[in-house]
């Protein structure tokens, strides 16, 4: 709030009403609803429900398929985050360095941001097609009989590659603007102090990029958890079966396909708690460890 604020009584309330009512109906109501139904067992037709306490949670944590999805989610998130941050950082450092064609490279490397995840999934289906996909052909010539949708690890590999492809542009844009906001004087001073380019990068550039990097770390984790839904749904072709899936995708599969409303709600609540914990962690770490310039 500003010091010189207006003191109108009804206007601010009027201004807030649209936003708060939409949030109330479409955010808080469903969130509370999920919390409530996570304690109930519903019959598949939704006619009756029984209070079961923590039974839904208990069966969740004892379920092998949930454990498998959790392990997959963690490894998937780690791989996608590390690969897409690493490749994007390399590209951004190079794009920051070249003088000629810098703008062209920026344009060429950022537009994938606007490609919808399921479209990326369709490209993956073609690239990894079993009989003539260019990438599976390549693997076949190396002796790897790639089977998308059949072999668990092959499918996971394709999901990671497509998700990394889709995420590189966002990371690239942030890293590049982070690099370009490093003052010229700092760079010149570093040039005098440290002759080797690698030394300059690790001693000067990398620490200055830390806030951007940390922000991107959180963004990438969120992306891997939630925004890859369209990629995963396209790649597994709506037939989860034995295919790898993330926790978010499992909420959808169990709730919509399996009609397990209580179990799906319990999964939602677990995810909500996870995301909340991540955010609290983020705020504390950002405030303590990283100083924005």
């Amino acid at each position: 709030m500003k010091r010189a604020a207006f003191t109108n009584r009804w206007l601010p309330i009027l201004l807030l009403v649209p936003q708060i009512s939409i949030i109330g109906i479409f955010f808080y109501w469903p969130a509370i609803h999920a919390l409530r139904s996570s304690f109930y067992l519903q019959d598949p037709f939704g006619f009756s429900e029984t209070f079961v306490g923590f039974a839904n949670y208990a069966s969740l944590f004892n379920s092998a398929s949930y454990g498998r999805a959790a392990i997959f989610t963690v490894s998937f998130t780690l791989l996608v985050t590390i690969l897409s941050l690493g490749i994007a950082l390399l590209l951004a450092v190079k794009a920051d360095k070249v003088v000629r064609g810098a703008k062209t490279y920026r344009t060429l490397l950022m537009w994938v941001y606007a490609v919808a995840p399921p479209v990326a999934g369709v490209m993956g289906l073609i690239l990894f097609n079993q009989s003539w996909g260019p990438i599976s052909d390549l693997f076949k010539s190396l002796g790897w009989d790639f089977a998308l949708g059949v072999n668990y690890y092959d499918t996971a590999f394709a999901m990671v590659l497509i998700s990394v492809w889709k995420q590189i542009p966002v990371n690239f844009i942030f890293f590049l603007s982070g690099l370009q906001s490093i003052p010229k004087s700092v760079r010149e001073a570093a040039m005098i102090d440290n002759r080797s380019a690698a030394g300059r990068f690790w001693d000067v550039t990398f620490p200055l990029l830390a806030p951007t990097g940390f922000f991107l770390l959180i963004t990438n984790i969120t992306y891997s958890l939630f925004d890859t839904f369209g990629i995963i749904d396209t790649v597994v072709k709506g037939e989860p079966g034995n295919n790898p899936m993330t926790l978010v995708y499992k909420v959808y599969v169990d709730g919509f396909r399996g009609n397990d409303l209580g179990g799906s709600s319990a999964q939602s609540v677990v995810l909500m708690v996870l995301v909340l914990a991540m955010t609290v962690f983020q705020f504390r770490l950002v405030e303590r460890r990283i100083h924005y310039t």
Partner: protein, 294 residues
């Protein structure tokens, strides 16, 4: 004499080599991002029979306009209502409606929070900003049930409004308004401007670039929505292009000849508008992303 020449030319040669290396990496990166889309384009120029047997190739066929015609004007589903044109229209409504709704609501709420003295300001702030934490995907099932109870399945309102129920835009505008000097509102008040006049005549024009940047980001975000439209639209005349991808994928698995040309063309049409917007307005887009997200 000889040694001098060597020492002079050696560093120059090294610089050139590293420059070639830098460009090499950048070109490789760009190719990695671009090739899959060129592949879609190539396949949509070829006859379906060829695609089905050979997949992507280096050949350029003559089916491009025929596939474009099929993708835009021929329906794929049962009802015959999900032509490319209809889906494009729905995608536009979703993208524009979502972006406009988000910006208008966000600006109003941010204005109330930043520029007014209210008793429940902190409370309102927390009510609104908790929504930043939980994406729609997490509460997807109950959200669907509520939209169903409200009779909003297969409507534009049902498509757009639940997606708006998060405070990203409010958060960005709050950050932005707080960075505007206080003297401005003081001067406006001394000149006798009321809260309405200040908002419309001073704050909105000042936020022009921020609004533009937000609009681009939100339009792309809305256009690319997949899960929510997939769930709440079952009428084929309500499908968006990105929702239609599900249908594209299913049609490729049919027993009859899979229409790769047409399907890839539809996928290209689905990515064209957001990609063009990002490319043409890239400075605004980058500004919006990097200056507001942190």
């Amino acid at each position: 004499m000889n040694t001098e020449i060597v020492t002079q030319s050696a560093p120059r040669a090294r610089i050139k080599l590293s420059l070639v290396f830098d460009h090499g990496i950048l070109i490789l990166g760009a190719a990695f991002l671009i090739l899959p889309v060129l592949m879609l384009l190539q396949m949509s120029t070829m006859p379906d029979l060829f695609n089905m047997k050979n997949g992507p190739s280096f050949a350029i066929g003559d089916q491009l306009d025929e596939n474009f015609r099929k993708a835009m004007f021929e329906a794929d589903g049962f009802s015959g209502e999900n032509t490319g044109v209809q889906m494009l229209w729905n995608s536009l409504i979703l993208g524009l409606g979502f972006a406009a709704g988000k910006i208008v609501l966000g600006m109003m709420a941010a204005y109330a929070i930043v520029y007014f003295r209210m008793r429940f300001a902190t409370f309102a702030f927390w009510i609104i900003f908790t929504t930043l934490l939980l994406p729609l995907e997490v509460r997807i099932l109950p959200s669907y049930e509520i939209v169903q109870q409200l009779g909003m399945l297969n409507t534009y309102q049902g498509l757009i409004i639940p997606l708006i129920a998060s405070a990203t835009a409010t958060f960005f505008f709050r950050q932005y308004f707080r960075s505007i000097p206080e003297e401005l509102v003081e001067a406006a008040r001394i000149d006798g401007a009321g809260p309405f006049k200040f908002f419309i005549d001073i704050l909105v024009p000042l936020s022009r670039t921020m609004i533009a940047a937000m609009f681009i980001i939100m339009f792309v975000y809305g256009w690319n929505q997949y899960l929510w439209p997939t769930m709440i639209t079952t009428d084929e005349d309500m499908f968006t292009l990105v929702r239609g991808i599900k249908q594209i994928r299913q049609s490729l698995e049919g027993t009859s000849l899979p229409e790769y040309g047409r399907a890839n063309m539809l996928a290209l049409i689905a990515i064209l508008p957001p990609v063009l917007i990002v490319i043409f307005f890239q400075s605004w887009f980058v500004k919006g992303l990097t200056e507001s997200d942190k």
